[in-house]
Symmetry: C2
Subunit: 416 residues, 2 copies
């Protein structure tokens, strides 16, 4: 076991004031993990010279690989490039390939090439340039004795492109990491403690090379087995534990790998050659959005009617005006008429509908905020259920989406 210890440093005031959520670190960590490189620490600092130098000093001292993102743009708040040049004792020189690429980008965008853009083609002469096909700021690969330091721009798709095309292949060559593997199980309908109790015996009998983690989320708990050690042994132990847990937990197992609920639903529909249509009110298209995040979802998903206004519920889904008047838009009756309408209008085997009140609004005087009605149907039967969501608008929307997909999954699996 000689895993390479790594650190990730993200730079930017916007990270420290919370204006931007750091998705780069998670992506980088995933990629390094696949190479058997262990991220031991992630550090975020502001656009401040002393803070960056401090983080860099520490990271270099305790790790063999340091990846830095952010601070490479052309504007005055981006200070990383000259700082790294100084740190590694280099001189700034124009890189011809980068310069050609920059001029090409500016020509295509029909923009003048300005003096400050020339600076973007400069790199320290002590680094290897990591070419940035997607943008203007090149990546850099430095070496300090046996430590590799990689600097990348913070714009997510540029960072990804440089990592995939330039950095990861070199990292794979440089560090022959130890073997590490994961198995996941997603459960629905029981809490973390209940599951832990069920699995106590299995967990206690796990060998030291395997670790079990619980990751609770909305209505679901993800279990993750991580093994590290000799490849054959790790795979064997992981497969055995994975099998045992799945067997022990029985019908609360939603998926036997780490996939989102929309993919579990999609996989089921594809495997059974069935189609799905949606009628959304309060979730405003988010269920359709999640369903279509899955590549190939057009095989089973035909469409959705987002009926935000009652007039649209009536005109497009055939919800009766009497029903709306008698029960209100957030009611079992309307949810059921919406799902019947979706099944009919979209011509699918299954349909799902949802109507609710996610934050304070017109109906909040009669109904508690957070009241949601959902209905699922196939050609034979229809089922509706009410939920109360306690959070704010965005969190309630997310939660309602997950709950609705979970209800659909249970309905399809005849668990309701």
């Amino acid at each position: 076991m000689n895993n390479t210890p790594a650190a990730i440093i993200t730079i930017g005031d916007e990270l420290l004031i919370g204006q931007v959520i750091d998705t780069n670190s998670a992506w980088i960590a995933q990629q390094l993990n696949k190479l058997g490189i262990d991220v031991l620490r992630r550090i975020a600092v502001g656009d401040d010279k002393q803070a960056i130098l401090g983080a860099l000093d520490e990271a270099i001292l305790a790790h063999k690989l340091v990846i830095i993102t952010g601070g490479l743009g052309p504007t005055a708040d981006d200070i990383t490039k000259p700082l790294l040049n100084e740190y590694f004792g280099g001189t700034m020189v124009v890189d011809q390939r980068v310069l050609e690429h920059l001029k090409d980008i500016f020509t295509k965008r029909n923009r003048p090439f300005l003096e400050r853009n020339m600076k973007q083609a400069e790199v320290p002469d002590v680094c290897e340039v990591l070419f940035n096909r997607m943008g203007t700021a090149p990546g850099m690969w430095f070496r300090l004795q046996d430590v590799v330091v990689i600097a990348l721009p913070g714009v997510p798709f540029e960072m990804v492109s440089i990592m995939e095309e330039e950095a990861l292949p070199r990292l794979q060559q440089e560090f022959s990491g130890g073997y590490i593997a994961h198995r996941s199980i997603i459960t629905a309908g029981e809490g973390e403690s209940f599951i832990a109790d069920q699995l106590q015996q299995i967990e206690e009998s796990l060998p030291a090379i395997v670790k079990l983690a619980y990751l609770p989320g909305a209505g679901m708990v993800r279990l993750r087995l991580t093994g590290r050690g000799p490849r054959r042994e790790v795979d064997e132990v992981l497969n055995k534990a994975h099998r045992e847990i799945i067997e022990k937990l029985g019908k609360i197992v939603l998926a036997t790998e780490d996939i989102p609920i929309e993919q579990a639903v999609g996989d089921w529909l594809r495997a059974h050659s069935k189609t799905l249509g949606l009628a959304e009110s309060c979730t405003g298209g988010n269920i359709a959005h999640q369903i279509t995040q899955v590549s190939g979802s057009s095989d089973y998903f035909t469409g959705c009617i987002v009926s935000y206004a009652n007039s649209v519920k009536h005109a497009l889904l055939g919800v009766k005006e009497e029903t709306l008047a008698a029960h209100g838009a957030i009611s079992e009756e309307v949810a059921k008429e919406m799902v019947s309408g979706a099944l009919r209008v979209l011509g699918t085997d299954y349909a799902l509908s949802i109507t609710g009140l996610l934050d304070k609004g017109g109906e909040s005087e009669i109904l508690p905020v957070g009241t949601v009605w959902m209905a699922v149907a196939d050609k034979e039967s229809i089922f509706a259920r009410k939920f109360y969501l306690p959070y704010d608008r965005k969190r309630n929307k997310e939660m309602a989406t997950t709950m609705a997909l979970l209800l659909l999954w249970k309905f399809m699996n005849k668990q309701l």
Copy 2:
């Protein structure tokens, strides 16, 4: 200027292997920022005793406030609570209020109260308990000389609830932070370098208490002015610079505060008493989802037809079968018939449609992957535009959503 220096430590293997994106830190940083508490560093470490202790030692040494999230659950991978107890030299004792709350939760959920759940009611006797109304793991407030250390569970909505109800009011009392304020401007249609060139003079004349940052994103650049110092002076300087920049950049200014594009569109619609309907194919409901993220969007948004299948484009939006056959689903003609259909069927003043190919699929043999057609219309005119998106499915979808909302915004503002 006596801002309180703070650090955030997030704990969890899932953060280091990239399985989970850390949204907690960003939220906490935002809240502290409002109190004039400066987050100087964010650190993520795994579920490992030495790593946690190392991060804690460092953080306490250099900061006056340390906030820790994660690692407080009941399962075996959650080690933070006993570790903090040891670190601060306490003894674990059962907290009666927490115990009552736990039993109450288990009764409501109709679940047995297990031995391991009893452990969840235990807290170190050297902390003040921060009550967790939303979940089972209590927050903890420790003090080491003049440093405050707060430990919170990692589940986002539990963390938020404890912060809002328990921690933030106490922090406000404890630390009378210096004044810090921001002004933002969102621009569309020009790049970072062009804008920086336009603003060079203004930027150079800014006093030292104000800083200008550029945050580029899909088709837009956000500018953020940050000022810190005496309240009156900061506000004056910020307001002046904000006004000057808005004037200088003219019609590329999309918004004069930090709001997402869907809100800029929504604000315009409300201000002009107009309504909006959508017809989405490739974005699969994401535009509707974004529009309805804005509270009160039901005032101007009536609905959306997600016509993923061609049969739905025909049946619900009235796209002619001949048009589909002659030009294919991803074409100017289909985008225009979709937008006309949405305007008619949803009965709105404005409509937006989109059809495209976001990743490899059926039509990728004839069309390049990433081809997208969008159309916008009101009762007098209709306008269509083609884009090419170079990324993967999810990124293309996000980008297409932003581009479409931007096109709509320009159309409404008669900039096309």
